[in-house]
């Protein structure tokens, strides 16, 4: 989770991210950020997020995203 928040902060240094920050509702992430994030996650966690998982529910908050990474990492 820590690593994930660090990644987010790297993208937008001007925002303080918490696990429950509403990333999409508050328009903090755009599609560019999401794709960048996906490739960072690939690097850091070794988890490839397929296109069909790129849906709003999975990127709503840091927690949701973390859950996705865990789920894909296990599988």
């Amino acid at each position: 989770m820590e690593r994930l928040l660090r990644m987010l902060t790297q993208l937008h240094p001007e925002v303080t991210f918490t696990p429950d920050t509403r990333l999409l509702e508050e328009e903090l992430l755009d599609s560019f950020d999401i794709v960048t994030l996906v490739s960072e996650i690939d690097e850091e966690y070794g988890v490839v997020i397929p296109a069909q998982e790129l849906i709003p529910e999975n990127f709503a908050t840091g927690t949701a995203l973390y859950r996705l990474i865990r789920r894909l990492g296990e599988g």
Binding site: S31, V35, T36, S39, V48, A51, Q52, L54, I55
Partner: protein
């Protein structure tokens, strides 16, 4: 029957009466019959294309979702590719018949009718069924087993002509569910439909002759700038008006279609604009083109490679590539003439440039601190408006050379020395336009500030609500440009 014809409201009203009279499990059949009637009434000649898409997509989805395909993604793939190819080819074929020269080539042949215009709604229902097919392939949506229900999703009449583009998981279940009568919903829907007609008939169509006049003349310089602004207002009224009608009619039936606009002209940069203008197309392109391309294996490999060699920029190469592909697809979807390609690439260029220049902007703002000043917001808004107008003007000239010639003319001669050609509008026209555009602006501002105006009015004095609705009705009836003697204009987006 077109949406602009007075028969359309009558047709809808008749359908509504039946819809709320039959039992819930029959309601979707009423909608399907209504949609069928609408299509037959409006675009009979092109029924074959719609049926091709319906049948091929239905069968392919069944093959993928049931039987052997269910477990094995590899077995699903050929069906996906086959069906996407068939439908994309049909769309491209129809679009290529509109290319200059096609008319002469096809003259006298059996498909000559294709050079007259696109099959009704083909660009929109093709997107929608393709999205459905990919969802089934991905396993995020269960294939619809009832052909009628599936057809209704693909050809739901209010959105057939110019969208919005809906996803199956969102729209499918709504269309087939039972919807008991709800007076508030009905009056909200009717209000939205009226507002849509106002924007289309009173504003967009009243501007249409001026835009046509400016377009036909060899307008350069200042005249061209005026043209881009008028075209922006016309297209806004036309497209948002048409979509408001689609959403309003659906709402009357208890069906919520996705919003397609969120005050796009209040956006402050291009990326923001595209998140607020034609949103459902943007979402579609993002879901089915941008994301898949950007996370596909080759692009990931390219990114890794570029990152190792080019540093910060290399990191973004993959995203930019995906952006390019997305805009290419968006351009082609609008039309096969080269201008739409140029249009897509210009948009792409502006987005990539502004992304690359972000650090520069940050430094600039930390130096001057203008970013939070209210006037700076206004400046950004105007800048975006003019920039998007200039890019959008690409629509108007099939030959990109003509477009660039006009674009450059803006800078070659001082603007104030350019004569503005006659626009062919009377004083009364201008008066109506001023009032109409003022009302449109006011509504947008209020929506930005206070959200749904209809909700606000619903809570207020009912007579105020009745009065305003009636006023809107009278304005549409009296000041709309429609009927015998007017060269009625089709919805602009129905040609894309």
């Amino acid at each position: 029957m077109t949406v602009q014809s007075p028969w359309f409201p009558l047709f809808t009203a008749a359908l509504l009466v039946i819809y709320y009279r039959v039992p819930g499990q029959w309601q979707w059949r009423v909608l399907l019959t209504g949609s069928g009637c609408f299509y037959l009434w409006a675009g009979k000649a092109y029924l074959g294309f719609l049926l091709l898409t319906l049948v091929s997509t239905y069968l392919a989805a069944r093959q993928m979702g049931d039987g052997q395909g269910r477990e094995d993604r590899k077995k699903r793939r050929p069906w996906l590719i086959l069906c996407l190819t068939v439908n994309a080819s049909a769309l491209m074929l129809c679009k290529s018949c509109l290319l200059p020269g096609a008319k002469e080539l096809l003259a006298g042949s059996r498909v000559e009718f294709l050079t007259l215009g696109l099959p009704l709604g083909i660009s929109f229902y093709t997107l929608q069924t393709m999205g459905y097919l990919i969802d089934v392939y991905r396993g995020t949506v269960e294939p619809e087993r009832n052909f009628g229900k599936f057809s209704l999703f693909a050809a739901w009449f209010p959105q057939l002509i110019q969208g919005p583009v809906s996803g199956f998981s969102q729209l499918g279940p709504q269309l087939t569910a039972a919807h008991p009568y709800d007076g508030q919903r009905l009056s909200f829907g009717a209000q939205r439909v009226l507002w849509g007609y106002f924007k289309k008939l009173v504003i967009a169509d009243r501007l249409a002759p001026a835009v046509t006049a400016l377009r036909q003349e060899q307008t350069v310089g200042g005249g061209f700038l005026v043209l881009t602004i008028l075209y922006a207002v016309q297209l806004y009224g036309d497209f948002t008006g048409g979509v408001d009608i689609a959403l309003g009619v659906s709402e009357c039936f208890g069906i919520r279609l996705p919003e397609n606009f969120r005050q796009p002209f209040f956006a402050k940069n291009t990326a923001q604009y595209w998140r607020r203008w034609h949103m459902t197309l943007g979402t579609w392109m993002k879901t089915y083109v941008f994301y898949p391309v950007s996370v596909s294996a080759p692009v990931r490999r390219l990114s890794r490679w570029a990152r190792a060699r080019l540093g910060g920029f290399g990191k973004r190469v993959g995203v930019y590539l995906a952006t390019g592909v997305t805009w290419l697809a968006t351009g082609v979807w609008h039309g096969l003439t080269p201008n739409f390609l140029v249009w897509g690439m210009l948009n792409c260029l502006v987005i990539v440039l502004s992304q690359e220049l972000t650090p520069l902007y940050r430094r600039f703002h930390s130096r001057f601190g203008w970013k939070d000043k209210p006037w700076y917001g206004v400046f950004e808004g105007i800048r975006m408006f003019l920039l998007m107008n200039l890019i959008r003007a690409c629509d108007l000239y099939a030959d990109p050379r003509e477009y660039f010639h006009r674009l450059l003319s803006l800078f070659s001669v001082p603007l104030w020395r350019q004569p503005v050609p006659a626009l062919g509008l009377t004083g009364a026209d201008w008066g109506i336009l001023a009032l109409g555009i003022g009302a449109m602006l006011l509504v947008s501002l209020l929506q930005q500030r206070a959200g749904s105006l209809r909700q606000l009015l619903w809570r207020g004095n009912p007579w105020l609500r009745y009065g305003l609705t009636f006023l809107l009705l009278v304005a549409v009836l009296l000041f709309g440009r429609y009927g015998v003697g007017y060269e009625g204009t089709n919805f602009i987006y129905s040609q894309f």
